[in-house]
């Protein structure tokens, strides 16, 4: 444990926030130095959920390691699997059938909406509003029901494989998703009425945790955190994979860089995801859902890097292969790691209540940081 918890000589107080704390969204341990209620220093201590995934993957085959990665950032588990499958396909030089690409993108966008829903509910709960949590889970349950009918699992679905997807869509997939889109459009206004326009909420979020554009680039932030500070970094637009290059959607950026801007960016991203799904849903081409690949995969000698846009930011999968059936070294560049390193810079000089608001707006998932 930390020895210096207690009072220092200059009248500052050093206390622990976490690891078990309802507002940290997982096991994050922050040691904060306070002067009264003003924060002087924030130091994150990580490793409370370090499951040694990178070492474990060195002994798993290329088909097996994908199931572990869906437990890294479990709220966007499809997107994690997608990134790993794309990296392996890059090494194998395999062509994924069009039908599989359409299915992958639809699942990705549904996952993105589900992740942002949970973020919205949890963030409102941190600030003291308990009701939006139930509204968010109502939509999230509809999405997980759709996922369960196709993929078999609600949270950690291992649906993407190198070469395509694992199984065919269920019969009522298009009908279910259309029903969900209708439900969503009618309920989205509730979010703005309940939370966004609330005066107390806006006062707690505006000008709290400001991150300038240069700092966002220097700290390596990505995803909605960087986009709210004005950095244009959506991987789906800059380095498109699968069929994102033919889709018509906008990249949402804002300039304020405070917590409220990050909030608004994520809400608008949910609407863009609905737009993408609507473009794809009726046009899924017929064909194979999985390309033919060997049973035991061997990547040629070399290094492969693939980036995908998860709900939190840019996930990078870096595989170093020596020609065998297992990877020699895998590195996952996690979005939460870099976003967290900007936390101290954001909250210096603010109060503890602002720390909670800033952490909520960063949308951290701790197993993604610790791997």
């Amino acid at each position: 444990m930390i020895e210096e918890i207690g009072r220092t000589t200059e009248g500052d107080l050093i206390i622990n926030v976490g690891p078990q704390h309802p507002a940290t969204h997982g096991v994050l341990h922050l040691v904060i130095t306070l002067n009264g209620e003003t924060i002087k220093k924030v130091e994150p201590h990580l490793g409370y959920i370090h499951r040694s995934i990178e070492k474990m993957c060195e002994s798993l085959s290329y088909r097996q390691f994908i199931y572990v990665t869906s437990r890294m950032d479990y709220l966007s588990s499809h997107i994690n699997n997608h990134g790993c499958a794309l990296c392996v396909e890059k090494g194998l030089q395999v062509e994924v059938p069009k039908r599989a690409q359409y299915i992958r993108v639809i699942m990705d966008e549904l996952t993105r909406i589900a992740s942002h829903e949970l973020w919205w509910g949890a963030m409102a709960m941190d600030l003291g509003a308990f009701t939006p949590f139930f509204h968010a889970f109502r939509e999230r349950e509809t999405i997980t029901d759709i996922m369960e009918k196709t993929c078999g699992a609600r949270l950690t679905m291992n649906y993407m494989v190198p070469g395509g997807v694992m199984a065919e869509l269920h019969h009522d997939f298009q009908k279910d998703v259309k029903q969900f889109i209708q439900l969503y459009k009618s309920k989205f206004e509730e979010y703005n009425e309940l939370v966004t326009g609330n005066v107390i909420f806006q006062n707690r979020m505006k000008s709290v945790g400001t991150l300038s554009k240069e700092d966002a680039i220097s700290y390596g932030c990505s995803g909605p955190v960087a986009r709210a500070s004005g950095v244009s970094c959506d991987i789906r637009k800059l380095y498109p994979y699968d069929i994102y290059n033919i889709l018509d959607f906008e990249e949402i950026t804002a300039t304020a860089g405070d917590s409220f801007a990050r909030y608004v960016v994520r809400l608008k991203e949910m609407q863009q995801s609905i737009r993408i799904i609507e473009q794809l849903l009726d046009n899924i081409p017929e064909g194979e859902y999985q390309a033919k690949t060997k049973a035991v995969l061997k990547l040629p000698k070399g290094e492969f890097y693939q980036r995908v846009e998860t709900a939190r930011g840019e996930l990078g999968v870096y595989i170093v292969s020596e020609g065998g059936t297992t990877p020699y070294r895998i590195k996952f560049r996690s979005p939460g790691f870099s976003n967290l390193s900007a936390l101290e810079h954001m909250v210096k000089g603010l109060k503890i209540g602002d720390l909670v608001a800033a952490m909520g707006s960063l949308d951290l998932v701790i197993p993604d940081i610790d791997r």
Partner: protein, 182 residues
């Protein structure tokens, strides 16, 4: 007040003895205490990884666990009755879990949710930092398999725990009765 119409034999422990003016309920104090304790267990919010999201689903409106008595999820262990270990326990987190368990007041119960809390789960082979099962750290009453278990599985486990308490078979109760009958 018409208590004997509302009283169901399976629900409240005890027998109804009919008398001329109405009826009186005969029961053992232990049974009444176990009934009261099992119907009002307050969980501690302790979620380390993915199973925590399924626990949050159970807390929300579709699979509601407050209809079984788990009404208020306390954030502090001092006011909680049951700790639901949802997620993997690693070497760095094990002393923290032990400390939380020690801070809970008696009687306390433990549910191990998910494959990681039972035995290390998918992280069993070739990992250097995972504790292979939460019962290396604290004694567990109910185990729930699954990765992650469905919300209905968690509800089944909560009802099983309630049944165990009513029957007097949890570790706490066995320990207490061994003090009384050494």
């Amino acid at each position: 007040m018409g208590m004997n119409e509302k009283l169901d034999k399976e629900d409240f422990p005890g027998k109804i003895h009919e008398t001329a003016g109405g009826g009186i309920v005969l029961s053992k104090l232990d049974d009444v205490i176990n009934w009261a304790r099992s119907n009002s267990l307050w969980p501690l919010t302790f979620a380390t990884s993915c199973c925590g999201i399924e626990m949050m689903s159970v807390a929300s409106a579709k699979y509601d666990f407050s209809r079984f008595g788990f009404e208020v999820a306390r954030a502090t262990p001092r006011q909680a009755d049951v700790i639901i270990i949802a997620g993997t326990i690693v070497n760095k987190m094990a002393p923290v879990l032990r400390r939380l368990y020690d801070q809970m007041a008696d009687p306390k119960y433990v549910i191990a949710m998910g494959a990681c809390a039972i035995s290390g789960g998918p992280f069993f082979y070739n990992t250097y930092s995972v504790v292979k099962g939460a019962d290396h750290v604290i004694p567990v009453d109910v185990y729930i398999p699954g990765c992650p278990p469905r919300p209905e599985a968690l509800l089944h486990a909560l009802i099983t725990l309630q049944g165990k308490i009513k029957a007097g078979l949890t570790r706490e109760q066995i320990k207490e009765s061994s003090y009384l009958n050494p």
